[in-house]
């Protein structure tokens, strides 16, 4: 138990929030500093 919840419950909460965030941060890092010309203008 940790802060009133089982480790399994904390694991679920952490994965629920963290998985998406981790993917998003990796995506932003890959696109940081990308010049505007590489984007597709409408």
């Amino acid at each position: 138990m940790l802060a009133g919840l089982s480790l399994a419950s904390w694991a679920l909460i952490l994965v629920a929030v963290g998985a998406g965030l981790a993917i998003e941060i990796a995506f932003l890092r890959a696109h940081r500093g990308r010049p505007p010309s590489e984007d597709h203008p409408r």
Partner: protein
């Protein structure tokens, strides 16, 4: 000033702002592209909030808080599914979809499909229009039902009054202001939902005596409410429940009302910037709703209808001024979905059937006027459904959510990621996904541990899209076009490299 007067004052102020947005948005809605995709000029924060507040209807505030109340920590599987769904949509789907739809100058998702598969027979458009109309009709009615219930719960007003007031406002700004008004009102509504779902769980936990006291109270009612598998445990029903909760997020990858946001972005940079806003926003939405529900369970055990926990907490834990805001937020959640569904259904009729199939010669202004008239007709139909004897309830929101998603998501994903996809495969996948969803609900669901229809619907759509594509020929030039789009978009996790002559593009 009485509490009711304060609540009504806040409500009137909110509705006045929406009317003003409608009038302001109307200036750019004189042609089809302006009315249905705001001229493709929306910035990142608008598409991010608009996408999430469209995806999250009044179900988020009433349904998901109720789920947190009913099943406890088990409801975090919904959070996992939705956060992953939103993230994957923005990281993997949005940019190639934007590139394709800019190339085709698409205004609707059926536009994209028709051009991607060179569908001159209009079968894809007609099938799409049928599915969109059939699913959005009752989905919209369910949202108006939520408006009626919210007015009853917060103000003690007549259910009918709530339906009519909610419908009148949303119809006005959607009809007059078009997609621009829809997207900017979604932004306002999304911000309100964000703030509310940040505040409600914090106040709820504090009112329950703090984190530990809240958990103790819930544990005393049923310790399994604090376990990931909930009261069902590791049984077939428990696993089916987890799979269904996670699958709710699949719709973010291909539901047409959400893809329209990517299409309406100013350029792909707006998508890159908007992705972080969208992911943070959905985390606050979902974690806030589930945690508020758990706090509500500690505070008010034994509710007959768990979906009343949100209005109950809003009226019991806050002063009148906040109660008014909480009512406004329910209306915001309802309206931000209803407006998008109305404009989606209107585009299916006017753009995909009238302009592209029946009367391509009609001038833009006439088509835009037809679009507005269609929005009014569809909205009026939804009002009658919501006022009918059989009131549409929240399970239908999840049903319609999956019906739209299962018809479009497998086909859209294959169209974007698999160059071998064919027109026949796309038609088969759309029909199979839709039919499987309906058939599962009608005939099979109760016999398979109440497994959520999104799973069989999506799998059927994917199976038929791939299977039929493998035995038919892809349209000429589609493979080369696919390579060109992906060379332009580049991979999600590495900087894009333009291929030199003769080199295969990175996919």
């Amino acid at each position: 000033v009485t509490a009711s007067a304060t609540i009504v004052g806040i409500l009137v102020a909110y509705l006045a702002i929406l009317l003003a947005i409608g009038v302001w948005g109307g200036r750019g809605s004189g042609d089809v592209k302006g009315y249905y995709v705001a001229g493709k000029k929306l910035p990142s924060w608008v598409i991010a909030f608009s996408s999430n507040s469209t995806g999250e209807s009044a179900w988020l505030l009433l349904g998901l808080t109720g789920m947190g109340y009913l099943v406890g920590v088990h409801a975090f599987w919904v959070v996992l599914g939705e956060v992953l769904g939103v993230t994957l949509a923005w990281v993997f789907v949005a940019r190639p979809f934007k590139a394709y739809t800019d190339r085709y100058d698409s205004v609707t998702v059926p536009d994209f499909l028709a051009d991607r598969f060179r569908d001159r027979s209009h079968v894809l458009r007609l099938v799409s229009a049928f599915i969109i109309l059939s699913m959005t009709a009752a989905y919209t009615a369910a949202q108006l039902t939520a408006s009626g219930k919210a007015f009853s719960a917060f103000l003690g007003a007549e259910y009918t009054t709530g339906v009519l007031v909610g419908a009148a406002i949303v119809l006005f700004y959607t009809t007059v202001g078009g997609f621009k008004a829809v997207a900017y009102s979604d932004l306002l509504q999304g911000v309100l939902m964000f703030l509310c779902l940040l505040l409600l769980p914090i106040v709820g936990i504090a009112a329950a005596g703090g984190w530990t006291a809240m958990l103790d109270s819930v544990r005393a009612q049923d310790p399994l409410l604090l376990e990931p598998m909930g009261t069902l445990g590791f049984t077939p029903a428990g696993v089916a429940s987890v799979a269904g909760f996670v699958a709710i997020g699949v719709a973010f990858l291909g539901a047409p009302q959400l893809l329209t946001r990517f299409m309406a972005a100013r350029d792909t940079r707006q998508i890159t910037h908007g992705s972080l806003i969208a992911v943070l926003c959905i985390i606050v939405f979902d974690v806030g709703a589930v945690t508020a529900g758990i706090a509500g369970r500690a505070l008010y055990p034994g509710l007959a209808d768990p979906e009343t926990i949100y209005p109950l907490m809003g009226s019991e834990l806050f002063p009148a001024v906040f109660t008014g805001i909480f009512l406004v937020v329910v209306l915001a959640a309802m309206m931000s979905t209803t407006d998008s569904l109305l404009i989606l259904a209107s585009s299916a009729v006017v753009r995909d059937v009238l302009q592209k199939v029946i009367r391509p010669d009609l001038p833009q202004r006439t088509l835009a006027r037809y679009g507005k008239a269609t929005t009014v007709v569809l909205g009026t139909g939804a009002i009658f459904m919501a006022l009918g004897e059989v009131r549409v309830i929240f399970w239908f929101v999840l049903f319609a959510w999956s019906g739209l998603a299962c018809a479009f998501t497998p086909v859209v994903l294959c169209a974007l990621f698999w160059k071998r996809t064919t027109r026949a495969g796309a038609v088969a996948g759309m029909v199979a996904g839709f039919v499987a969803t309906v058939a599962w609900v009608l005939f099979f669901k109760t016999g398979f541990y109440e497994l959520y229809e999104m799973i069989p619907g999506f799998l059927a759509g994917l199976l038929f899209t791939v299977g039929v594509s493998l035995v038919t020929e892809p349209p000429g030039g589609a493979a080369e076009e696919h390579d060109a789009v992906w060379a332009e978009v580049g991979p999600a996790f590495r900087p894009a490299v333009q291929p030199s002559a003769g080199e295969s593009p990175v996919v």
